[in-house]
């Protein structure tokens, strides 16, 4: 197909420059739109995710909520978080939020990762883990403001939602989108999804009385390639702990890209220092020094 271009990775963890990754064939920035106001919590997306990615299901813990398990897992990347929220006027809301990787434009996991090529950001915005390059240090877990990467103690590797990069690469939508029966999940270009999300938020404000309705697309991580429509965008925390202002720890930004090389160079000065001492001052020898050999006068 003429319109299918072979795309290059734009950012690779622990790597000096761009390098070829897997081909991802949607040229534009993709985006998943999750409308929490129309999610019915049916869990079809959870099943679709496990099915498509061929991950075995396992016994889980029931903690008296409409949630499949307390947290996502290395083999369960997509979880509908449930929260029963009481409004000030006494009414109750059942909040369902599909929790998965947000595919940040400025990914904290990638910034934290020290392994060459383990985390890749494609030009269409998908952030993907290449487990064959993962060294299992779990720095990505602490770099992620959304608590998404999950460690598999068996393989000693970290896993997360791929936004079905394999399906998207073939022009298909992610498995969760395909399974959604209410249409609360949509997939397309970032531009289109932002437009639809804002229209829906406006609709909620104007016609449904949700004065604080809005779109969750946090600019603190450069925007995300998974965006939410929330009834109350002023308090995303109530949706199962969606951070209001997600940030990457400074130790993975300032320290890693500035101070690491700079201080590493300072440590090298120890080597250069002793070398300079040997050349300029010379060694200290036990006293008394034996007499020097007489120079040959020619």
């Amino acid at each position: 197909m003429a319109d299918r271009k072979t795309l290059q990775a734009t950012q690779i963890s622990g790597h000096t420059g761009a390098a070829p990754g897997f081909d991802v064939q949607r040229n534009y920035e993709v985006c998943k739109l999750i409308d929490t106001t129309t999610c019915i919590g049916c869990k079809a997306c959870e099943v679709a995710c496990v099915e498509w990615n061929d991950m075995p299901f396992q016994p889980t813990t029931f903690d008296n909520t409409y949630q499949t398990m307390p947290k996502t897992n290395w083999n369960f990347w997509n979880l509908i978080k449930f929260n029963e929220h009481q409004n000030p006027d006494g009414t109750i809301q059942w909040l369902m939020r599909k929790d998965q990787c947000m595919h940040c434009a400025d990914p904290g996991c990638l910034a934290a990762c020290p392994a060459d090529g383990a985390i890749v950001k494609y030009s269409n915005g998908i952030v993907d883990f290449n487990q064959e390059n993962c060294i299992g240090c779990e720095y990505c877990v602490s770099g992620c403001p959304f608590d998404i990467p999950r460690f598999n103690p068996m393989t000693k590797k970290v896993y997360k939602c791929t936004l079905c990069s394999d399906r998207v690469g073939q022009g298909l939508e992610p498995a969760c989108i395909k399974a959604c029966p209410t249409g609360c999940l949509k997939f397309g270009s970032k531009e289109d999804m932002s437009f639809i999300a804002n229209e829906r938020a406006k609709q909620l404000k104007d016609h449904f009385g949700f004065a604080n309705a809005g779109v969750y697309d946090p600019s603190s991580v450069g925007g995300t390639h998974v965006i939410y429509v929330l009834h109350d965008a002023t308090d995303p925390e109530r949706y199962g702990g969606l951070p209001k202002n997600p940030t990457i720890p400074w130790s993975y930004t300032v320290w890693k890209w500035l101070f690491k090389p700079v201080l590493g160079t300072f440590a090298l000065f120890g080597f250069l220092g002793v070398l300079a001492h040997y050349v300029t001052t010379g060694p200290r020898v036990p006293q008394p020094e034996p007499p020097r050999k007489e120079e040959l006068h020619g």
Partner: protein, 248 residues
């Protein structure tokens, strides 16, 4: 009381290792380090460099990723790094107990540090007469490594367990402290290796054969020389100089 137990343990270890290895001291030489001290020193050195080299690839992969294949690739290097670290801390702890007494900071050490520039510039050919078994520079490095090891234990445990057990913030902070501690030790190791080899000739024998020349002792550790021989270091040096001149 506790220090008494440590001393007993050290003495027993020394005797045991002395029966396995040996230290030959020739005429004109002094015993510097017994077998036990040397064995620990080189074990610590081995684990230090294993931990350092496995750590390099994790620290700056774009610069040091050629280190990781030496350890079977990234995942294995990452798996082994904490174990090497445990080895380093454990054996250094033994050395710390072994050297606790001679490493105690004294007023003379403060004077030695103030005099440091004259020693670095080689203005004073001999160390100050009150320089004992270890000089203040060695003591600074020793206590830096003790402090660094304490940092390594706590931050290393947090990094080993990971964000799953200790939380994202703890890992993000630990990783920076772990790096800084390693960088200070890396800078220090260059100075250590330089001074113990080409920087102050004769020093390397102290850790290889365990013995040093008397001239080395009265030059670099005069107070220790006086303590073990009973002779005045400056006097001994002058006498050696006279003998040397007479031979010419």
């Amino acid at each position: 009381m506790a220090s008494g137990a440590i001393e007993r343990f050290d003495n027993e270890a020394r005797q045991k290792f002395e029966s396995m290895g040996q230290t030959v001291v020739y005429r004109g030489e002094l015993l510097r380090h017994p077998v036990y001290t040397r064995v620990i020193h080189w074990t610590v050195a081995l684990f230090f460099f294993l931990a350092l080299f496995t750590g390099f690839g994790i620290y700056l992969p774009w610069l040091f990723k050629w280190f990781t294949p030496l350890f079977g690739g990234g995942p294995l290097a990452r798996q082994m790094h904490p174990w090497f670290g445990v080895g380093f801390v454990f054996f250094f702890a033994l050395q710390a107990l072994n050297w606790l007494t001679p490493m105690i900071w004294k007023p003379s050490d403060t004077r030695w540090m103030r005099n440091l520039h004259k020693i670095v510039s080689n203005e004073e050919k001999m160390d100050p007469p009150d320089t004992g078994f270890f000089n203040a520079g060695q003591k600074v490095q020793f206590w830096e490594i003790v402090g660094g090891c304490i940092v390594f234990i706590f931050t290393g445990a947090i990094l080993w367990g990971g964000a799953r057990y200790f939380g994202a913030t703890a890992v993000a902070i630990s990783y920076v402290l772990h790096d800084i501690s390693a960088l200070i030790m890396l800078g220090g190791i260059f100075i250590h290796i330089y001074l113990s080899t080409i920087g102050e000739p004769g020093t390397f024998h102290a850790m290889i054969r365990g013995a040093v020349s008397e001239a080395w002792a009265w030059t670099f550790h005069p107070a220790w020389y006086k303590q073990v021989t009973g002779r005045d270091p400056v006097e001994a040096c002058e006498q050696a100089r006279r003998e040397m001149d007479a031979k010419r």
